[in-house]
């Protein structure tokens, strides 16, 4: 059997980690290296690291910092944020990341194909950010949720997989940070159309939510932010993660 991955997503902003809600209102969480050390102890499956302001600030990823974070990690890391070309991708893989996550640059199918040819599809992940419009239709966004596109999430997923992407993170901006549960319809829409692993993102607040994304949404894996950095209804900051026994029972 192939075990379901439960992946904490850490958001980098300024010098530290933050957590947002619906891509807004970043709250400071702490130091990423410290968080990685705690996640090591908890034997976390994998981490996603997203620099949420790199694209907006029109700057390169912070390679040295990413390298420092990755060096502490005995679990695989996917990095996303500000990646537009092969040179940046090379520098990032040199820091020791396992996977490159692209969002804004995912509209560039040639870039996806070139990256897949060099690093293998398994290392190239496309994160598709989605909002529901007033008519209830799903729309794809890039640039940290600021730029809207006419393409629907399922067609977007199909296109980037054909170009060479080996994994899709499907993220509901509406649910992000709300802890109210994933958008299962959205996850289903994408996981039914592609044959690469689909990671559900946006909205997880409980272990039941994680299970729903797999069993109802058809996702291969799940990622969550708030759930692994906050504890209790007052959202006190506490880095946490289910035990491997909890996870085993959860997905049984």
């Amino acid at each position: 059997m192939n075990l379901i991955r439960v992946i904490p997503t850490l958001l980098l902003k300024g010098e530290g980690l933050v957590k947002t809600q619906q891509f807004k209102n970043p709250v400071y969480i702490g130091d990423p290296i410290n968080a990685v050390k705690i996640f090591n102890e908890k034997e976390v499956d994998e981490l996603v690291l997203l620099d949420i302001t790199a694209t907006a600030e029109k700057r390169d990823p912070k390679y040295t910092w990413i390298g420092d974070i990755v060096s502490e990690s005995f679990m695989p890391i996917g990095y996303g944020g500000g990646v537009k070309n092969i040179e940046q991708a090379k520098k990032l893989f040199d820091t020791g990341i396992e996977k490159l996550i692209i969002n804004t640059a995912s509209l560039n199918n040639e870039l996806i194909s070139s990256l897949a040819a060099i690093y293998g599809s398994q290392s190239i992940v496309v994160c598709i950010d989605v909002r529901k419009n007033l008519l209830g239709k799903y729309q794809v966004y890039t640039n940290a949720g600021t730029e809207k596109h006419k393409i629907s999430p399922d067609i977007m997923a199909k296109t980037v997989v054909e170009a060479g992407a080996g994994e899709i993170i499907i993220q509901s901006i509406d649910r992000e940070g709300t802890m109210k549960g994933y958008d299962l319809d959205l996850i289903k829409m994408v996981s039914e159309i592609v044959n690469v692993p689909v990671v559900a993102s946006g909205g997880a607040g409980t272990q039941d939510h994680l299970r729903e994304a797999i069993q109802i949404g058809g996702a291969s894996s799940v990622t969550a932010g708030s759930m692994f950095v906050f504890k209790g209804k007052h959202r006190g900051i506490l880095i946490n993660y289910p035990t491997s026994n909890d996870l085993k029972n959860l997905f049984k």
Partner: protein, 204 residues
């Protein structure tokens, strides 16, 4: 001294860090002299087979690697693409591999109705020991490792299969032949389970 071979296709930092944690950091090197002096080698690698093989050819290290591995028979550990490069050939590319194993690399393929079986095989999975070696000594119970690959190694010599993993079918997730060890998964990203493998490799 352990040499971690840097031929431009690998995530070497995490391997070096795990070895450092075990108190034997080794060196990351692309120098034939360093490799000639090494008493153990690690051949890492991620990416496409032909890309990795052509990088290895361009590095000019193949001759010294063949000499150390096949003549001096020092322990060598291939990881992920590094493991696949140790075979004769791959369906992913046209270039011949190093040919240290009588094995070839094949693409996963599953019946069309198996929609839940994604390619690449990505994530944590268990291993079953088929052949006890110094590398598999005292592995923790239910050892699991991190995999990311679309192609798998098919051993033509069944005695070379050290570990198997199930992904629809059982495939060889690790091979061993004499001093040569090949791992399809990433021990450097597999917490205590990977640490144990490196510890075993250090004590060979």
């Amino acid at each position: 001294m352990i040499s971690i071979i840097d031929y431009g296709a690998g995530n070497l930092g995490s391997i070096a860090n795990m070895l450092r944690k075990l108190g034997n950091p080794g060196i990351i090197t692309s120098s034939a002299d360093d490799i000639a002096k090494a008493d153990k080698l690690i051949l890492p690698g991620v990416g496409n087979f032909d890309y990795g093989m052509s990088k290895l050819q361009q590095s000019g290290l193949i001759e010294v690697l063949n000499d150390k591995v096949l003549n001096d028979k020092i322990p060598v550990l291939g990881i992920c693409l590094g493991a696949q490069l140790m075979t004769k050939k791959s369906e992913e590319g046209k270039l011949p591999g190093l040919g240290w194993f009588d094995a070839e690399v094949k693409k996963f393929s599953f019946p069309a109705d198996q929609i839940n079986l994604r390619i690449p095989h990505m994530g944590w999975n268990y291993v079953t020991v088929q052949k006890q070696t110094l590398l598999t000594k005292d592995l923790p119970e239910e050892s699991k490792y991190y995999f990311v690959h679309s192609y798998y190694i098919h051993a033509n010599t069944p005695e070379d299969v050290m570990l198997t993993t199930n992904y629809y079918n059982d495939f060889a997730s690790a091979l061993n032949h004499d001093n040569i060890y090949a791992l399809q998964f990433h021990p450097e990203k597999s917490h205590k389970y990977g640490l144990k493998i490196f510890q075993n490799f250090l004590s060979i």
